[in-house]
């Protein structure tokens, strides 16, 4: 069942065509990696899905409804950097999303509502492995911890789709492997739908159930901006999908070993 659909989407900046004729359906609970050379419109595509940018032509539908041209809580995002609040500690970074929804005017919760929300935030921090770091400020966190916090912050809103923009690009290889385990686990446990832009091909194939490659189909050397990029390869990784199905069948028996 397709949850997010792009229909004949074009993005043009004046003369420059960035994306052309993108037709795409993303199924619920899939993990889509988007790869491609620099300048092939990977980040533009992600900004479209995010609602940060509007297509010049074409339509984007989320659950059959046209996407609002503005970011909203139905889509969560984790950027490579700068997506957590430096003035709040880890708990309050996660609490932020809960407070925004519940307290439109003060932006803060008080009393019992606050305690309930804090419990939820703590549970989410524990789920990303930051259970003991609730009072740590971002400036004192390592890059890996910051990305864990950013993921927790996004997931506490239970978004329909989680968008990851090169989330592990700035991390050490060892930390990156830990993050791969974490994302895979969260994707399974919380039944997430994920779209991830990455430079790292092996990362794309390790994590995803589907790999999209964006590139230009045609190239005019005299007018390099004349043609835009589109999905030139669209691979569904049957092996990963099969493994996932087997996993969900056995999920009640063993939860941890199959990572």
């Amino acid at each position: 069942m397709s949850m997010l659909s792009l229909r004949n989407v074009w993005v043009e900046y004046g003369e420059k065509v960035v994306l052309e004729r993108v037709d795409l359906d993303i199924a619920e609970r899939s993990f889509v990696s988007i790869v491609g050379p620099s300048g092939a419109g990977k980040s533009t595509l992600l900004r479209l899905l995010l609602g940060q940018e509007v297509p010049t032509r074409g339509r984007i539908l989320l659950d059959g409804v046209p996407l609002k041209p503005e970011c909203g809580p139905d889509r969560g995002v984790v950027f490579q950097r700068y997506s957590i609040f430096p003035h709040l500690d880890a708990r309050h970074n996660v609490l932020f999303g809960l407070e925004c929804a519940a307290a439109p005017f003060t932006g803060r919760l008080f009393g019992r509502a606050r305690r309930i929300a804090l419990d939820e935030a703590d549970a989410m921090l524990a789920a990303v492995g930051l259970g003991d770091s609730g009072h740590v400020f971002p400036a004192q966190m390592s890059g890996g911890m910051q990305q864990r916090l950013s993921i927790a912050q996004a997931l506490v809103k239970r978004p329909r789709i989680l968008l990851l923009d090169e989330p592990f690009g700035a991390l050490d290889p060892g930390i990156r492997a830990d993050m791969h385990v974490l994302v895979t686990r969260l994707w399974r446990e919380q039944a997430l739908t994920i779209a991830m832009v990455t430079h790292d091909i092996s990362e794309a194939f390790t994590l995803a159930t589907r790999v999209l490659t964006l590139d230009k189909r045609r190239h005019d050397p005299h007018a390099p901006h004349r043609y835009g990029a589109t999905a030139v390869y669209d691979l569904t990784l049957d092996r990963r999908v099969a493994a996932e199905n087997a996993h969900s069948a056995s999920i009640t028996i063993d939860d941890n070993v199959n990572n």
Binding site: F79, S83, H87, G107, A139, A154
Partner: protein, 271 residues
Amino acid sequence: MVRLVNIRPTRRVAAMLGATPLLLLVLAYLIASASRHALNPADKILPTPEAMLSAMRMLVMLPDAMTGERLFWSDTFASLQRLGIGLGISTISALLAGLVLGLLPAVRATLGPLVTTVAVIPPVALLPILFIVFGLGESAKVALIVIGILPLMIRDIAAHVEALPTEQMIKAQTLGASSWQLALRVALPQVMPRLIHAVRLSLGPAWVFLISAEAIASDVGLGYRIFLVRRYLSMDIILPYVAWIALLAIAMDWVLRQISQRGFAWAHGAR
């Protein structure tokens, strides 16, 4: 040999190094003053410390024959009140205007050029207009301070809000934040340390405008007193007053820095 750029004094050595030029300055003054007085015991240009003390004792301790007030304290109170009101109005206005300008592109497009234009006008050139509009009372002096420092403070705060990472703003929106919540929960707390910094930087200009306004039309105030006694070449009053103004400025700066470090530890890389 260690490069000069890598020689870092310890805290104690740094304090000693910092005190040395100040002490040397005082010493040089004492020597110059003593040598002038050796030639001419009635010299008024470089008064001795004793002369300064006795002149200041009059102003600090004894009530003035005309007004019955201790002039030093009424001068200090009047100046600090003007400065405080001016800084207070500027700080609150800069915070509000800076947030709105920094967050809302439509307002920035509308009012940005106005702020930039006002910022390039030399404030003292507006002083005659202020005296004509507000009269010679307190409001003209406060208005000069506000006009002098507010435009730059607004630009500083607005630029800081605008420079908050786009990623952060987008993230907050995906977490459901409205424009109001973005201002209140994301921009405001992050701009507070910057605001305190802007006030610290504005203290210098604010004193300049205060002293200028007091020098031109006033009957009380630190700047007024300095310019009044200049007619009698009373360096024994001018020099202590200047030192007192410097001391007040340093104290205000220190207090603001403490507030910033205590209240916004996250912005100072605290461990």
